[in-house]
Symmetry: C2
Subunit: 210 residues, 2 copies
Amino acid sequence: MKLFGYFRSSAAYRVRIALNLKRIEVEHVPVHLLRGEQRREEFLEKNPQGLVPALELDDGTVLTQSLAIIEFLETLQPEPRLIPADSVLAAKVRAVALTVACEIHPLNVVRVLDYLKEELHQGEEEVGAWIRHWILNGGLDSIEQTIAPAPFCFGEKPTLADVCLIPQLFNARRYATPLDHLPKILAVEAACAELPAFRAADPFQQKDAE
Amino acid sequence: MKLFGYFRSSAAYRVRIALNLKRIEVEHVPVHLLRGEQRREEFLEKNPQGLVPALELDDGTVLTQSLAIIEFLETLQPEPRLIPADSVLAAKVRAVALTVACEIHPLNVVRVLDYLKEELHQGEEEVGAWIRHWILNGGLDSIEQTIAPAPFCFGEKPTLADVCLIPQLFNARRYATPLDHLPKILAVEAACAELPAFRAADPFQQKDAE
């Protein structure tokens, strides 16, 4: 399988962690978002949305959307489980993942920040404030209230919640978001940093990092 | 079970459709978003995120995030399936659902529109253009390229893809988004409109509609 990604893409970073935890090997194909490679015809044929990540299966089928890809990987290689067997716990894990994926991340992606700058004429300061606002309000601030690290978000093993949270923390730090008031989240981050699967997925460990 | 929702909330509308398709009865508890009822202490105790929908189970456990709630309902009452058994098809269904939930909807929710108006001083015209831009670009325009209605998004029965698409179309029409160039999506909409489960979930069929 081939994973089309970009070292700094938070959504691609999620899929890299999941692949590493499940020890699934893929070929990593970088798509340079800032150079607009996602809008080249060659890539649009694979994913008309022009987004990374995209997972190309051996038969040429292309799967998109990081959470849909991770649910697919969960079926392909069930162990270790990233979504608990208990359906209530699974809902709580997915809710944290979706809080990152639906409440925080969509507001802070490159195309949205470009729109703020180019169409709405916002300056660096306003864009930075926008980014930090959505990372915290209704985002990390609310996740802090729903987890009880032990040491991962939901127990002794990492789940989809941790897989989504860590890339979002990378983004939060990149934009100097204050995190000191989030001790539970910082404890989860420290626990994940001990695991090779998370460390190897770090943006700066990727071959296209610059 | 109790579903905390709001007639116009697109995410609550998704859960209503799923409940109706699966014939699961719940008590509907309206939370008036425009009057700020989601920020009252009474509701924040149930969902610290202050968002609808939230599903309260009979033991008092509260589940949040519409897609996590629907995945929970899928386990609780597997028939009719909203996520196909085939893992590749399941990934395609989830990708359409996530395109709505992660690429379109988060940019157009009330709190984001309020931020544009109040913090970034954007007028009605700019906010309307923002809404329509994100509904189409990378949103409905790309979904149009990935579905082949027969007559639903992925075959003869509605799936999670249709469950997410229909509420987004309601929003699109509310903001006068041009849809004529999306014949496949309009065909899906027509097919869903034939089903009582979709019709009964319509915002204007809810007791809190105004």
